[in-house]
Symmetry: C2
Subunit: 327 residues, 2 copies
Amino acid sequence: MADLELIRQLLERAGRAIESFSVPARPENLYAPVIYALEGGGKRMRPAAVFMGCAVYGDNLDDAVAPAVAVEVFHNFTLLHDDVMDDAPLRRGRPTVWKHYGLNTAILSGDVMLVRCYAELAKCHRDVLPELLDIFNRTATEVCEGQQLDMDFEGRTDVTLEAYLHMITLKTAVLLGASLQMGALVGGATPDEAAHLYQFGKLCGVAFQIQDDILDVYGDSAKVGKQVGGDILSNKKTFLLLKALEVADPDRRAELEYWTGPGDHDPAKKVQAVTHIYDELGIPAMAREKKERVYQGAREHLERAGGRVLTRQQIAAYFDRLLHRDH
Amino acid sequence: MADLELIRQLLERAGRAIESFSVPARPENLYAPVIYALEGGGKRMRPAAVFMGCAVYGDNLDDAVAPAVAVEVFHNFTLLHDDVMDDAPLRRGRPTVWKHYGLNTAILSGDVMLVRCYAELAKCHRDVLPELLDIFNRTATEVCEGQQLDMDFEGRTDVTLEAYLHMITLKTAVLLGASLQMGALVGGATPDEAAHLYQFGKLCGVAFQIQDDILDVYGDSAKVGKQVGGDILSNKKTFLLLKALEVADPDRRAELEYWTGPGDHDPAKKVQAVTHIYDELGIPAMAREKKERVYQGAREHLERAGGRVLTRQQIAAYFDRLLHRDH
C-alpha cells in the first residue's frame, strides 16, 4: 500500500477549510442552524477531493479552499433539506436541524446555505470562475433531480436496477466527481484531464453507494455504527433488493414481495428472511462484482487524467482502501 | 407625464424573457411545480428593472435577458418557500405550490429554482460575471435574512419602526435595487453609476412597501383586489401599526394593544377600531409623508446615475406612476 502522507495532509487541509468557514452572528435563528449543520462532522471527503484534484496538477492549494468549502456546504445543505423531506429525526447521532430548530428554520437556513455555496465559488479566480460555476450548477441540478427520483421511487414497484443506478449517480455520485473536477481546473488541468477526474469521482461515488448497500446487510454492525438490515426494514430499494427481484424465479420473487410488502413483520425475522433470499441467490457476490467493475472503470479514467503520477497513485490507494473497508 | 413607450417595450421584453425560460420535462414532479410557480403571473417588475438598468447605458438588451430571468426566478423561488413557511394556501388566486404539490415537492422544486437562477447568471459575459454574481449573492443572502427577521418579528412585541424598515429593506427592497444594478453593469455603467441605480431601486422598494401598508387599510378594495384591513386582522406589524404604537399616548397605546392582542374580536369591528385610531393619530399622512421622503431620496440617486437622461426620465415617470396609484 502506498504511503498516504499527501492524502492525510489534504484531508487535514479540508478539515481546516471547513473550520475557516464562518457566517454572520445575526439573525441568529438563520445562521445558528447553519453552524449546527456543519458541526455534525462527516468525513469531509468532498472538500478533500477538491484538494486532491488540485494537487494532481498544481501546488496552488490555497486556491482550492473556496471550492472545497462550497462543495461541503452544498453537501450539508442537501442533507439538511433531505432530512426534512425524509422526516428524519437523527443525523450522525444528533437531532436533525428541523427537529432541533423547526421546519421553517430548516427550510430558510438551508436556502441561505445554498446561497453561501455560490458566495464561496465567487471567491475563485475570474479566469476559472465560469467553468467552476457551470460544473457546480449542473451538479447541483442533478443532485436535486436525484433526490426527486429517490422520492418518486418510494411509491413505485417497477423500479429497475438501471433506474436505481441512474438515481444514485445523480443523488450522490456526481458531487464527488464535480469536486475532483473543480479542484483539477483550479490546479491547472486541461478540460479533458479534469473530465477524466470527474468520471473517476463519479464512478467511485457509484461504487461507494453499492458498498453502502452491501454493508447495510453484511457489514460488521459494531463497525458500521448502525443497525444491520436497516435498509431491509425500511423496504429501501437498494442494489441488493433490485438485483434480487431481477434474478429471482417467480417463487422467490413472491417471497421477497411478501417480506417487502405491506403487513406487520417481526423485524428480526424480516431481516433474516430477506438476507437468506439474498444469500441463496448469490446477491452479495453479484453486488461486490458490480462494485469492482464500476471501480475498475473509475481507475481507467484516473489513469488517463494526466498530471502527477505519484499523486494519482496516492489517490488510487486512498480510494482503494475506502472501497475495501468492512464497515 | 412623459411618454412611457420605452418602458412599455421593456416590460413587454421582460415578459418574453420569462416566457423563454424553460426547464427539463423530467423528473416531472421536480419541474412541473417550477413552471406552475412561474405561470402565476406577477408584474415582472424586477426583470423589467434589469432591462431598464441596461437601457440607461447601452443598447445590448439581449445581454440583459439572463440576469432578468435570474431575478424573476429568484423572486418566485422566495415566494414558493415563503408560502411554505407562512402556511399560505393561496397566491395570486391559485393554490400555492405546497398546497398543490405537497411540502416535499415545494421544498425541492424551490431548491432547484435557486440553482437555476445561478445557471441563468452563468450565461452572462465572463467580463461582468463576477460582479453580477457578487451582487446576486449579497442580495439573495439579504433576502433570506429579511425573511428570517420577518418571522422573528411575529413573536415579538418590541419591534421598532426602524427595525421594520430594516427588515423590509432586506426582504423586499434590495432585490429591486440589485435588478437595476445588474442591468446597469450589463449595459456598461461604471460601478459608481450602477451603485446609484441600486440605491434608487432599493429606496423605491421601501416606498412600495410603505404604500402597500397604506393601501391595505386605505385602498379601494375593488382595485386592491383583496380584503381591506387584512394586515390589521392578522396583527401584522406594518408601518402604520408600528408608527401608531410609537406616537400614541398611553391610553391609545393600550387601546391598540387590546385590539391587536389575544382575544376573539369581531373582524369588522377590529378593522374599524384600529383604523379609527390610525385616523385620530394622523398615521395615514405620516405614512404618506415617509413614503414621499424615501422616494425623493431614491430620485436623487437616479439623478446622479449618469447614462441617458431621457431613459432615466421615463424610468422616473414609471415609478412615479406606480407609487401614486390608489390600488
